[in-house]
Amino acid sequence: MGVIKKFSGNPCRNDGIGLSLKALTAAALILPGLFHPAAQAAEDDEVDFQYSHYQEGKRDILESETTRKNNANPIEVESIHGGAKISLTDRIKFAFNYTQDTWGGATPIDSGPFVAGANGAIKTIGIEEIDSIGAASPLISHRVFFDKNLTPYKQILKDGQFIHVPDKRIVHTLAIASPETRKQGDFKLGYEWDNAAIDIGGGISLEDDYESRFGNLNGRLDFNEKQTTVNLGLSYTNSDIDAILDHDIGSYGNESNFNQYIQVIDEETNTKKIIGNRQDWGANLGLTQVLNKSASLNAGMSYTRSTGMLENPYKRVEYFFIDPDQTPNSEGLLQGGSNAYIEQRPHERNQWNWNLGYSQYVQPLDAALHVNYQFFHDDWGINAHTFEGDWVQPLGAGWTVTPRIRYYSQEAADFYQPYFFSFNKRPSQRDEFDPALLQQNYSSDQRLSGFGTLSGGVTVAKQFAKGLSLEAGFEYYTHQGGLKIGGGGEQDFADFDYWTANAALKINLAALGRGASGSDGGNFHNHHTSHANAPAGVMVAHTLDKAGDIMLGYRYMWNNQDGNMLHQDSAVSLANLQNKGCFSGQGHFNTCLAAPKSMAMHMHMLDLMVAPTDWLTLMLMSQFVNMDMSLRGTPAFTGGGNLAHHIANGHETGGIGDTGMYGLFKLWDNPSHKVNLGLGFSAPTGDVDIQLRRAHHQDGGFVHYNMQLGSGTWDFKPSLTYTGKADKFSWGAQVSGTKRMESRNKSGFALGDMFQGTAWGGYDLTNWLSASVRGVYTWQGRTKGEYPRNKIDFVPTPETEACPNESFIIDDGNGNISFDQAGFNQCIVEIRNANKEGLKSAIYTDDAAYRSNPADLASNSGGQYVDLGLGLNVNIPDGAFAGNRLAFEWLQPVYTRQTGYQLDRDGALSFTWSYGF
């Protein structure tokens, strides 16, 4: 204990000494019986945040050989993670994590011979007819010629005659997914003895179509004076699959092999779901051994048993039926007709993993080398090898650079093929299913094919003083059939690559604690608490006290809309809404077929405040946003079509939002009264061009205006805040606004300006807890402009063609020729009206497809709102977590006046955590 106290002073005073003391302290902690002092957070107590972006490269669908264009954006994933590890007591540890991914883009659903013409085009409503994969149909031709070796043949024109030549190429069929969000929360609770530890953990992962609940139990035993450590873990996962079958695919595929799992959830729209369950049991055993003063070894093995629905319900396989009784054509070729089935995998899988790792400290460079090999084997016929290595190189001044490389190779599953054959007559009905004609299991999922991958990347980390560290990482990954060990991997049609970039911020609570108890600590944290007790929902309310201060904050806001559709401040029935709610920007009423049912917005914000001088605080605020909307049909909606798909699925978006940069100036600053002026800008880092996927042979178009992730414009955000405090009372007021500095963003619209005025009063209930009441008035302007319209499919009839002059020449037969000016004028008026009507009707058609929901009309936005806020603020004055501040506030709508037709408001929750150091 004495050792630790001695070294837990202030390591920041001298970096060199600090680091070596830290290493010694950490080494001493390996000594049995030495534990962290009770009043301080443990060495590994930590809060962390991480953002990551995954971007896949475009798949090669041989577009250069066809007229088709691959307009589809590849898969893209935006992820955030937040977590904390906390020592509840010396021996009890608690950790929790929250992770959220939003993904969307084009992904393969099956593969087939290139000559079968996968990725065929469909004409899209109102759009110029182009063969576009952005609007792909998964249809592939039903007939392909094969020779006796089953090589596909394509037809070409040679010397005026059609002949067939071999073409072995394969392509994927791509399907596009609208953005979808997965959320995961998990926890771990552990107890530590001197030479052992045990922890229990669990969590849940939620997606629209997949829900997993999991639990695990892990134990650790140290012996041989802690030179040997054995780990044992058990885990269980139970997952429900609840996948809506795609209308597009459903119309060409055969789902009857899954009949036992399919439920029709809406007879009217023939919306079907695959309902399934899978379970995974896992066990692992690991050993870590200190080899000498500079090296350690770890080895482990694990076993996982998976049962239930192990298919990916969205993946299809192409089956070619070759009738053995057919007569070959003049070139000796046989014809095969295809059917597409949902992939079929065994309902059981046993997996084994063995791994061996070695870590070597390299004294002259103060670096460490880690190498790892892993062998995987399962009873689906897959064997895989993974080789990994990294080199962790500290560079001094808190910097560390870590390059890494990884190679992976796997064999194909027994039941994988890019497409399949059945030497039987093709079933005459597309939905006819006879398992006797097919293999027992079949999949064309490229993840089960034979391939190798090579990836490499670098991580750069910087350890700042006061326990703050930043990490940034980049990785490039390439998947190639040709990289498989021993050759024989899949053809290059399945090759793809991706890159990921991530950034993480970690706060070591133990180091922060040391800062507090150090010689310059004293009343350190309390600097920031005065007047900082603004309710959680008030932004930029306070400044930092003095030059050099830093504050880190996390803010979460949840805003929910639910209930009636409103027109101004009164509820409107769906029957009324359908006739009046979809007033088009083109000046006519379109029938609303759908309306929002509920809409939730979640914002995660991370802000960093720095005071370069006593009178100025700079603030950088990054946001991660995700939204979901559920939809309902109006009485005019009769079911079916594209809309049925959207109503059944709802919509989700998510990703990085706009980035705020603020300068906060102290105008008045005394112990009782403070006034600050905020001048800020918001940079358009959030997407404003998110589109919905194609469904039911129709493009989705842009998502609703309020579901884009940012404003798309540079915005000016001024604010003026006054706060006061006397004894246990505190109060404040703020006016703030948003002025869009551009008239249109890249998607053709600009959100309305905003003004907000708010005032609050607070009371300290104890020295660590205070409560607040707040009133808020908000005026939000209407969105200007609109999404670009599709090319309207209408060509006006030329007036000269409709009303040719010669038609109006009157010859009375006596040589008197005159011109019927009145008739001609009448004709011109008529054709102009007809053209006008024709154009209007074409616009109506476009509107019917893309503006049949009030949320798709820019005119239905903005309004005036009054809210009442009730808040609680917690300031932790001392102990291990001194200086942490938590605040909650619920905003209850009191008055809502919506411009146009919009959904009623339900309330908003704000939560903030901040820490000054």
Binding site: A23, A26, A27, A28, I30, L31, Q50, Y54, W103, G105, R182, Q184, D186, S205, L206, D209, F214, G215, N216, K226, S235, Y236, T237, S239, D280, G282, N284, V290, N292, K293, S296, N298, M301, S302, T304, N312, Q351, N353, W354, N355, L356, G357, Y361, A368, H377, D378, I382, V392, P394, T400, T402, Q410, R447, T453, T459, E471, G473, H479, T500, A504
Partner: protein, 74 residues
């Protein structure tokens, strides 16, 4: 199953190797081993992310069944 026997054999060999190669290291001699760069996983946050990406793209994603991660259906 012959495969698992081979691996078991490898593990036994490693243990034997350790009996020969492992040098007793006193607690006060573990300064290098305790350095952050020698942690078994120096960047656990990033490792979890990478494992999730590999898991949704490769068949050999076993061994971390109960870490969640959802379907990875894309």
């Amino acid at each position: 199953m012959s495969l698992s026997k081979i691996v078991l054999g490898i593990c036994l060999c490693l243990n034997l190797l350790c009996v020969v190669a492992c040098v007793p290291v006193q607690p006060w001699e573990r300064g290098n081993l305790a350095k952050p760069q020698m942690a078994l996983d120096p960047y656990p946050l990033q490792s979890a992310l990478r494992a999730h990406n590999y898991g949704s793209r490769e068949a050999a994603a076993g061994g971390n069944a109960a870490q969640g991660g959802g379907c990875g259906c894309y």
